[in-house]
Symmetry: C3
Subunit: 213 residues, 3 copies
């Protein structure tokens, strides 16, 4: 399959998977119809919008390309009409979410590279594309972003974006780097889910907490 | 009255109404003097600032045009000095807030249209102009944005922005489209307040909630 | 010492001080390794990133200049490895944080002035540079931003940015204005900490709270 056709297909699959996870979270918070659609759209497109604003690609694609909004609205409709089945299929959702994560990390890094030659910016923007929507969702729903305290998620996006930028800078062909980076990110994410890998948490001692203001 | 003079007057009325609602919320949260002024300014100007950043109109008018800051500070002062009367006049505040909502939705959509030819972007930006400030306020005050779980508010802004963009694309004269769109948005908002209309909420069943992670 | 060399040194000192305070807050919230690094970076660089987006200086320096990320990561490492000593040195951290506050307020205002001629924008952007990171930290950690309800902090940044812009507009030499503005901001901040100065809070009366929706 041609890499650009694959991108388009997988990009919409990733957007849909992200959107479904947003719609489920919004429904659990008992938001109304409009709230569900808004949170769904933010999760699916928020990361890309923040990336586009940071690299100066305005108006952001997520706001001006109707496909993203259409996919978000479709996911909202699915989560409302078929909430039970969606809940039971959550392992599949996690699988597609991992694919979306890898793909957004890589395409986000690529887009940033095409607007600026800073490797650091491209890596950070790849990560922001992949996890920004989830962070905005959690900020809107008044909870500490899940990526900050649980699981290997943003770190997998970081791996994907770093591989993409590093291999591209090393002169590898773009079709190869993209697939390697996406696969590495997806595998790390799925392996961490399967084996329960987590990043270390550092527990503050009781006496430290007493001293905090 | 000339439509542009009317815009300027109503824009400041809308900004003031939004600012008053922000100042009241900030005072109820027991923020200090500076906190009240900041939240007031965010509610009055935050939506327009986000819109301007998204369409590339930087620096945003809300940050570089002194009138918006001046109106915000005046509203903060009123909410501090005359808190009791402002609380008693809350029905009037809701009325002016509805006017601000309609006006911001329409002028926001118009400004986005003048920067880009995407109808979808213009509709989304009209809505963001109208409700963005309130969402930022709720995110700063650590509560789930009211527009996501209560009342016909963002949906009224959506109606106004959609009418404005749709009628403009259909070739109607700009003075007519603007008035029609503002009036439709304001009427929908006021009618929903009066009759207690709400968007549907979908209740998760108990067994669904048990399954959530 | 040359004013620009001093800027570079103090800018990194300020970034480090801001980063340390972010790392300590993240650790207290029991975020994981990645969460600590993210919150640290947001506190150190978030204000400058928001400023650069608002004035159209994209990509923001905080995302494309590796020094900021490097200093943030170093501060995260220090807060993880030497958490106890850092907690005991919190008075020194507050001191460097005050220097960072003054410096960010002044350099932020200067950068905004160099991109646009609006004095109001420059003052607001100086304040946003100085306090934006802390506000983003609190929004991510689901708490009401500390600057909205406690202490003379943003007000000190406002003083610094206003002096910088006012004296520059009055034609003073840039080396003088910068030092005067930084020192005024730092002194106000330290004096308010030492003497416990606060801005007034306006208590809502019981009957007002009963009436709120």
């Amino acid at each position: 399959m041609n890499v650009h056709t694959a991108y388009t297909v997988l990009d919409l699959v990733g957007t849909f998977a992200f959107a479904i996870s947003g719609a489920v979270a919004a429904r659990q918070k008992r938001l109304d119809l409009f709230g569900i659609a808004t949170v769904t759209f933010m999760v699916a497109c928020g990361g890309g919008i923040v990336r586009d604003i940071c690299i100066g690609a305005v108006p952001p694609a997520g706001l001006s390309n109707w496909r993203y909004l259409a996919v978000s609205l479709a996911a909202s409709a699915v989560a409302i009409v078929a909430y039970g089945p969606v809940r039971r299929l959550r392992h599949s959702v996690l699988f597609f979410d991992a694919i979306g994560l890898g793909l957004f990390a890589v395409t986000g890094a690529e887009k940033a590279l095409s607007y600026s030659h800073s490797a650091e910016l491209a890596i950070l923007m790849g990560m922001v594309s992949a996890v920004g929507g989830g962070v905005l969702r959690d900020m809107m729903l008044s909870r500490v972003p899940a990526i900050l305290e649980r699981e290997i998620y943003a770190s997998a996006a970081l791996l994907g974006a770093t591989l993409e930028v590093g291999l591209t800078e090393a002169g590898w062909s773009s079709s190869w780097t993209a697939w390697i980076a996406v696969v590495a990110c997806v595998l790390l994410r799925l392996a961490s889910l399967y084996f329960g890998w987590r990043l270390p948490v550092f527990h503050a001692r009781e006496d430290d907490r007493r001293g905090e203001r």
